[in-house]
């Protein structure tokens, strides 16, 4: 199976692990990821305002290319996923799409591409059962707390990934690689996000709340899909290791050396 792939700026820089292992694992799972040519940064956050056109163009270009190749568009970074998926949804509104399409050259885009987060790809296109079969190093006994953050799940009306209050996709993923998921209430709360830039204290409070909650619930490790979540949790002194889900997957599939964390 072939799919278009949008890595995003952070994955080329501070979060290379998220990207590298995503590609390696895709190979093992029989998915060919074709990186969008000359992709541009998604902008990090979706602007909800109806008169914000320019901020959505980069996402629309990526979507349009995937659509032209008739491939699903795969994202890994939570932020990219959130922005691109919401942009795609916004493009279903023809009035708004008309404004955007003025910048799109000859071919108009209409919001008809399908966007999958890598996790959704694992669940819906590959299947957790198949992953289970391909696991060579099951992470047996590891108690892992999934950290969704806010970007993957909300707004649920658009994201439609899972139940936003009681998601299961990461937990199922953790089971598929042989580990034990630990459910804790703050797994779908915000880490503080970009506020870390100008008000690090505010971000610290939010991040610590998440790690505390995971720790009390008995997690030994936190797994995430978002570079900013990882940054905030680690920076603010998480006692638990914070790891990208692609790293764990790579470990289980035997394409990464087993970490000692």
């Amino acid at each position: 199976m072939k799919a278009s792939y949008f890595p995003g700026c952070t994955l080329k820089n501070k979060a290379t692990h998220l990207d590298i292992y995503a590609r390696k694992c895709a190979d093992v799972l029989g998915v060919t990821l074709e990186e969008i040519e000359e992709w541009q940064c998604c902008g990090g956050v979706f602007t909800t305002s109806k008169d914000e056109v320019a901020t959505k163009l980069s996402s629309v270009r990526a979507l349009k290319e995937a659509k032209a190749k008739n491939q699903p568009l795969i994202t890994v970074c939570s932020a990219c996923h959130n922005v691109i998926k919401q942009t795609n949804h916004a493009m279903e509104d023809t009035q708004f799409a008309d404004k955007v399409n003025r910048y799109m050259g000859e071919d108009a885009y209409d919001g008809s591409a399908t966007v999958y987060h890598y996790l959704e790809m694992l669940r819906d296109l590959v299947g957790f059962d198949k992953i289970k079969e391909k696991v060579v190093n099951p992470l047996t006994g590891k108690k892992i707390g999934a950290y969704y953050g806010c970007l993957l799940l909300r707004p649920n009306k658009v994201m439609q990934m899972d139940d936003p209050e009681n998601p299961q996709i990461m937990e199922d993923f953790i089971r598929a690689i042989g580990a034990e998921p630990v459910v804790y209430a703050y797994r779908n709360e915000c880490c503080g996000g970009y506020i870390a830039m100008e008000d690090p204290q505010s971000a610290k409070k939010k991040s610590n709340r998440v790690t505390e909650c995971a720790q009390i619930a008995g997690a030994e490790m936190i797994v995430t899909a978002c570079p900013l979540c990882k940054y905030n949790l680690v920076k603010n002194g998480s006692e638990l290791p914070v790891i990208y889900f692609t790293e764990l997957l790579a470990e289980a599939l035997g394409v990464k050396e087993v970490s000692n964390e």
């Binding site: 209050e165 804790y184 209430a185 703050y186 505390e212 909650c213 009390i216």
Partner: protein, 664 residues
């Protein structure tokens, strides 16, 4: 040819001021069929009516046109006048020259011209009128009550009191419904069981009432006064007539780990069980999904200990067929699922419970014998947070919550918090509310007592997040009046879940051809003036199946439904509306188009023999309208492709005659 009399009313100056009534009477005199035409100041007065009667006799009239006020006002009056004069009452037509003419037009020529045209249309219609007689149908003097909660119980008792036999169909092994699960009732705080169980016993002992427990309605056909109902009595593997309810089998059953639905899964029951001590009928039931004997033929202990010989592993579902004159729906409600509201962590912690679970937790007959403890570890709670409006008053969240106010939550939450504070003054209680709605007798006083005397902390605001951390539930909420975000360490969180109609209501409504609203509550015939009747004749509504209700309201509605049923069953025959559809069998081709559009299921098909011109006979499928069920909307007349279906009183040729008269 008809002999028509035209009577133009002045209505004092109401009509006469803008309509030249004499000109109208004069103009209509020349219409076909008209043999007499006159005007008078007040046609509806005794003198006016006498004038009509005299004219009928004198001119040998066969039809009457009254040009007067709206037929909604005096059609019935003039029909009675006609009947008194020896005419068929349906030979009267009204031309509305007041509301729809003199009152809305200003100058006399315009008003007069229009009044003449309206009169001509009425004359054209009467020319085609035929005498109509309302049909009659017998009434089966027995009522069916579907649902054995407090609504069904009260309705059944009241109907039986009037001397009519009643059957109650209840899906659970016992009657009692939700009220049997409650601890105390607001605003008087008497114990639910103490006031309910005597009524249950009354039902059991009333020889006019039969209880079909563990049963459901399978099929309904027929119509008002004459319903045919099939009831499926599910196999309970215990002979009801032999079982004494001694409970020996329940005690001995080795399969003790079945979640107890009566306690909402908070404890276990055996595979053979009696839901609670005061169950009616007090008969054991075997759960076929849990019983080893039924699943794999190994055990049989209950049969061995039963001295009455009541256990019967070979029992089968049984279909009972019965006729009823009236059906009362009392299917009640359930709290909605909390699955979609996991910001309150219902699925993550045993200590987040619904209010109904809380009732069981404080009920002396409940899983903890009435001791209020945390379900997770059995420890005494120190702080309890109540959250109101969970799933109620939601917009656009059909798959999540409900748009309406569930009505009972404010009061039971006040009750819960008050009872907690009364029994355990050391427990802090918080109630998060959006609005406190207490419109009921002594309701607001009750709520105020909870706040002022019992020290329940009411906080205007909502809980945003519940996070189970260790033994505590961290509750994050807003306090809007103090403009603060609160963080409370709670031991127990109680969610006032929205209520919704029982899931059995929707298929039942289809069987009954009774209408429902978008929330699956049954629709009443009129929201104010006929609140306990369904638009479907002979079907009545009792309790929360019609909308959220508390116990006093339910009981009064149950009584009202019973009185409507008694009014129906007291009649020997039902007189129908004669303006109903009828099919010309010679034109009907049996296509079923009419049957499909009929909202009442009044149309059925019969195979009928027809004599052909060549003296052979041929069997054809033709439509038949049940005159007792048809309400006369006329949907079928338009759906009929062959023009076989017509509506009496509003026949196609009559309406066309009116159109022609207006357009002439």
């Amino acid at each position: 040819m008809q002999r028509i009399g035209v009577f133009v009313c002045w209505c004092g100056s109401n009509i006469a001021a803008t309509v030249d009534v004499q000109a109208v009477a004069q103009a209509l005199k020349n219409e076909p069929g008209v043999v007499f035409s006159t005007d008078y100041q007040y046609m509806c007065s005794q003198a006016g009516q006498d004038m009509i009667k005299e004219a009928v006799a004198e001119h040998n009239l066969t039809g009457i046109v009254v040009c007067s006020c709206s037929p909604r006002m005096h059609e019935a009056t003039f029909r009675k006048t006609a009947a008194a004069a020896g005419l068929n009452p349906y030979m009267v037509e009204i031309a509305n020259i007041r509301e729809q003419c003199s009152w809305v037009h200003k100058d006399i020529p315009t008003g007069t011209e229009k009044a003449i045209i309206l009169g001509k249309a009425a004359v054209a219609k009467v020319n085609l009128n035929t005498p109509l007689t309302p049909g009659e149908s017998p009434v089966t003097k027995r009522a069916l009550v579907i649902g054995g909660g407090i609504a069904g119980i009260q309705t059944a008792l009241d109907i039986a009191d009037a001397g009519f036999p009643v059957d109650i169909v209840e899906t659970k092994p016992t009657i009692g419904g939700k009220m049997a699960q409650l601890d105390k009732t607001f605003p008087t705080l008497d114990c639910a069981a103490c006031i309910l169980t005597p009524k249950m016993v009354d039902v059991a002992q009333n020889d006019k009432i039969r209880i079909f427990s563990y049963s459901e309605v399978e099929e309904v056909s027929g119509f008002v006064g004459n319903f045919d109902v099939k009831i499926k009595k599910r196999a309970r593997y215990v002979k009801e007539d032999l079982c004494t309810g001694c409970g020996a089998c329940v005690e001995k059953c080795p399969m003790k780990k079945v979640p107890n639905e009566f306690n909402l899964g908070m404890d276990n029951r055996p595979a053979i069980y009696i839901p609670f001590a005061q169950a009616v009928p007090k008969v054991a039931t075997i759960d076929p999904n849990a019983c080893n004997m039924l699943k794999n033929g190994k055990c049989g202990l209950c049969a061995r200990v039963c001295t009455a010989g009541a256990i019967d592993y070979t029992q089968k579902d049984e279909i009972i067929e019965e006729k009823y004159g009236a059906i009362v729906v009392a299917t009640g409600f359930n709290p909605i699922s909390m699955d979609k509201f996991d910001e309150f962590a219902y699925s993550q912690s045993k200590d987040v419970i619904t209010s109904l679970e809380f009732e069981r937790l404080t009920n002396a007959a409940g899983p903890t014998a009435g001791k209020l403890v945390r379900p997770s570890d059995g420890e005494h709670p120190h702080t309890i947070v109540f959250v109101q409006c969970v799933g109620s008053r939601c917009e656009n969240c059909a798959e999540k919550g409900k748009e309406y106010c569930s009505k009972i939550c404010c009061m039971y939450t006040a009750k819960h918090a008050m009872l907690v504070r009364d029994k355990y003054p050391d427990i802090e209680t918080y109630v998060f509310y959006i609005d406190v709605r207490t419109p009921g007798k002594n309701f607001d006083e009750f709520y105020r007592r909870a706040v002022e005397e019992y020290g329940v902390k009411y906080v205007k605001g909502m809980v945003g997040k519940v996070s189970p951390e260790g033994k505590k539930l961290k509750v994050q909420a807003s306090d809007l009046l103090n403009n603060k975000q609160l963080n409370i360490d709670a031991d127990l969180v109680v969610l006032a879940a929205a209520i919704e109609p029982d899931k059995s209501a929707r298929p039942l409504a289809t069987m009954l051809t009774a209408s429902m609203d978008t929330n699956d509550f049954f629709t009443e015939a009129h929201p104010k003036l006929r609140p306990v009747e369904s638009p479907t004749a002979g079907v009545f509504l009792s309790g929360a199946c019609q909308g959220p209700k508390d116990i006093p309201e339910t009981v009064s509605q149950a009584g009202a439904a019973a009185s409507k049923v008694i009014g129906l069953l007291a009649k020997d025959k039902l007189t129908g509306n004669p303006c109903i559809a009828s099919s010309d069998e010679n034109m009907c081709n049996g296509c079923s188009s009419c049957e499909r559009v009929c909202p009442y299921g009044a149309i059925t098909y019969v195979d009928k023999e027809f004599r052909m011109p060549d003296r052979t006979t041929k069997v054809r499928r033709v439509a038949q309208v049940n005159p007792a069920v048809c309400q006369g909307c006329g949907a079928c007349t338009v759906a009929c492709p062959s023009g076989a279906m017509d509506l009496r009183g509003f026949a196609s040729n009559q309406i066309i005659a009116e159109v022609d008269a207006i357009c002439k």
